[in-house]
């Protein structure tokens, strides 16, 4: 079992309010990812769950028992650190066995568990080496192994992949996912990389300035972001935003600013009835913009001038000037476009997001 519940968690560092009233229920066997920019309080939250940081107020419970006052060793958790934190003076075997030795396991049992974990991670032939003789990826595996042998109730990961190069990171990400499927242990994972968050998490917690912005499944965050921050943070390239004023003409709603004038689709218009005459933020993802052709006649369209063309092979990213602002569109690799071209760009009407200009909450 490994159910973790955070109830009204706050953390103050002197006068700095680092984590603000976090409430979260993490189910047994779930893989939950905390994501956000640096300084958003995600690592602090993780460290409070680990017991490495005291809680200013609130309750953390694991499997129904409040653990606020429990020492890290008594919480039955295992943690993987960003810099691996392998003990440099011990062999790989001793690194993995350390936690079991401290807990006074039988020698036979230690041996069995270490070999089993080494087998799962494919580091069987490295057991006699010292950490400094290992590559980054191997160190990462040893750090994972050290967590696995303990059979803890919860795994905590603090940006474990951020010291690896890009290729290895993708590979380890897949392995982590497989490992979680195989072991089924509850995992709480902190990262600033939204791709890691989306691919690994059963649920993702987006944080900013110590406040939880949204909790949801990856696609939920992507399709229904709760506010402008989540919308801009999740997805790459980031969502385009345009400040527009909503007006009514001939019974339909128009959103316009200096370079843009579009008729809002009915579904979006419904939501904006109360905002006529006011400013709102229009959000549209790069992949929901297309070069307009005859099929898009009834879609909202606008004119743009191409400033930069980025060929990625599988897609083309267009940096376009729309009025005063810049928008990015991701278009088919077959599109024939050049810098300086004037284009008519269509939006997929069902994929339009609108946010309140003041509160930035989704409307």
């Amino acid at each position: 079992m490994g159910q973790v519940v955070l109830k009204g968690i706050n953390k103050f560092f002197d006068s700095v309010h680092a984590v603000k009233d976090v409430n979260l229920q993490i189910r047994d066997k779930e893989f939950v990812v905390f994501v956000g920019p640096s300084g958003c309080g995600k690592t602090t939250t993780l460290r409070m769950i680990a017991g490495l940081e005291a809680i200013s107020s609130g309750d953390i419970s694991i499997d129904g028992n409040v653990v606020n006052e429990l020492a890290p060793m008594d919480r039955d958790i295992a943690m993987v650190f960003q810099n691996y934190a392998l003990y440099p003076h011990m062999s790989v075997y001793d690194n993995m066995a350390f936690g079991l030795k401290m807990r006074k396991f039988e020698k036979l049992e230690i041996d069995k568990r270490v070999l089993e974990a080494a087998d799962i991670l494919g580091i069987g032939e490295l057991l006699k080496r010292r950490p400094r003789q290992l590559s980054g990826g191997q160190r990462q595996r040893v750090a994972l192994g050290r967590a696995i042998v303990r059979h803890p109730r919860v795994f905590l990961f603090d940006e474990p992949l951020s010291n690896l190069d890009a290729k290895l990171r993708v590979q380890m990400r897949v392995e982590l996912k497989k490992l979680h499927l195989r072991l089924g242990t509850t995992a709480i994972y902190v990262t600033h990389d939204q791709v890691e968050a989306m691919t690994l998490g059963d649920r993702v917690v987006v944080m900013k300035d110590g406040v939880v912005q949204q909790v949801g499944e990856p696609l939920e965050l992507y399709n229904q972001p709760a506010n402008k921050f989540v919308a801009g943070f999740i997805g790459s390239p980031a969502m385009n935003f345009a400040a527009v004023t909503v007006t009514e003409a001939n019974g339909s709603l128009i959103a316009e600013n200096s370079g843009l004038r579009i008729k809002l689709p009915d579904e979006t218009a419904q939501r904006l009835r109360g905002h006529i005459g006011r400013e709102v933020l229009l959000g549209v993802r790069p992949e929901d913009l297309t070069v307009a052709d005859s099929a898009d006649l009834d879609h909202p369209c606008f004119d743009a001038v191409i400033e930069v063309v980025e060929q990625l092979g599988s897609e083309i990213l267009l940096d376009m000037k729309v009025g005063e602002s810049i928008m990015v569109a991701s278009v088919e690799p077959t599109a024939r476009v050049r810098v300086g071209d004037k284009l008519r760009v269509a939006m997929r009407p069902s994929r339009l997001h609108v946010f309140d200009a003041q509160t930035e909450a989704a409307i």
Binding site: A50, M73, A85, Y87, H89, M102, R132, R150
Partner: protein, 273 residues
């Protein structure tokens, strides 16, 4: 060329006193006291090396007991200072308690108080506790400058040990004590060795406390014994003096060369996981 010529000059400059010490200690008295303007005056070399001075040192003076005294005092005061320094350094760098920072600075400031001032109140204390003329007068006073030194050095070293190592150990099931004993101290061994060598050298070479607190010849340490027993009035027994200096510097040289690898690693502080 630009590298080796200055290097050679530098080496010559550094090693010349040592060479002078060696050559003087094996030179017969007849050559040592020859006037500089005599025809066969040759200060830099001798054709008739002799062990007379070393023999004199061991047979006619208490040099052997001075060596023993110095070794015992240096080892004991180093051990005391290292134990205190390691724990104090750990506490100051890792435990968050009020005024930890100012306490660290305070300890460093005590190191800056000159020994030439400190020996006056210490002499009073030594007399009150009737420790004068015993090895304990030095074993207990050397830590007054060794502990601040070791604490300061270890504090810097512990700060360089990643905090995550300890946190990981504590999640793994170690108490703070166990995490310190099994993880932090083994990782900090190079730093501890450096501090130990420094402390050992400082107490081995210490002069003023030894001069003030010890009076009977059989209690003296090498630096004090050699200078007080081999300079009688205005007569310098150059041969035995230099032989004593040479033999007195050998243990320090051995300590340095034996630990030099750790020692260098300790000073450059490399504990990358």
């Amino acid at each position: 060329m630009f590298f080796y010529v200055p290097m050679a000059l530098f080496l010559l400059f550094l090693l010349f006193p040592f060479y002078w010490m060696v050559i003087t200690s094996v030179r017969p008295d007849g050559e040592l006291y020859r006037p500089w303007n005599s025809s066969n005056y040759n200060p830099f070399w001798t054709w008739k090396p002799t062990w007379d001075h070393v023999r004199y040192l061991f047979e006619e003076t208490l040099f052997a007991s001075w060596l023993w005294n110095t070794t015992f005092i240096a080892l004991a005061s180093t051990a005391i200072s290292l134990v205190c320094g390691v724990f104090a350094g750990y506490a100051l760098s890792r435990l968050n308690f009020p005024f930890a920072g100012s306490l660290g600075t305070g300890i460093f400031i005590t190191y800056l108080v000159p020994q030439t001032l400190l020996f006056i109140p210490l002499a009073e204390i030594i007399r009150n506790y009737r420790l004068g003329d015993t090895p304990w007068s030095l074993i207990l006073t050397y830590p007054t400058f060794l502990i601040p030194f070791c604490t300061w050095l270890m504090m810097g070293y512990f700060k360089a040990v990643p905090k995550e190592l300890e946190e990981c150990a504590r999640i793994d099931g170690a108490s703070r004590w166990q995490a310190m004993l099994y993880i932090v101290i083994p990782v900090a061994i190079p730093g501890i060795l450096s501090a130990g060598i420094f402390a050992f050298t400082l107490s081995w070479n210490e002069f003023i406390y030894a001069l003030v607190f010890l009076s009977s010849p059989e209690q003296k340490t090498v630096p004090v014994g050699v200078t007080s027993e081999l300079i009688r009035g205005d007569v310098f027994y150059w041969g035995p003096l230099m032989a004593g200096a040479l033999l007195g510097s050998i243990p320090v040289a051995i300590a340095y060369s034996f630990f030099v690898e750790h020692y260098v690693a300790g000073l450059t502080g490399s504990v990358k996981g």
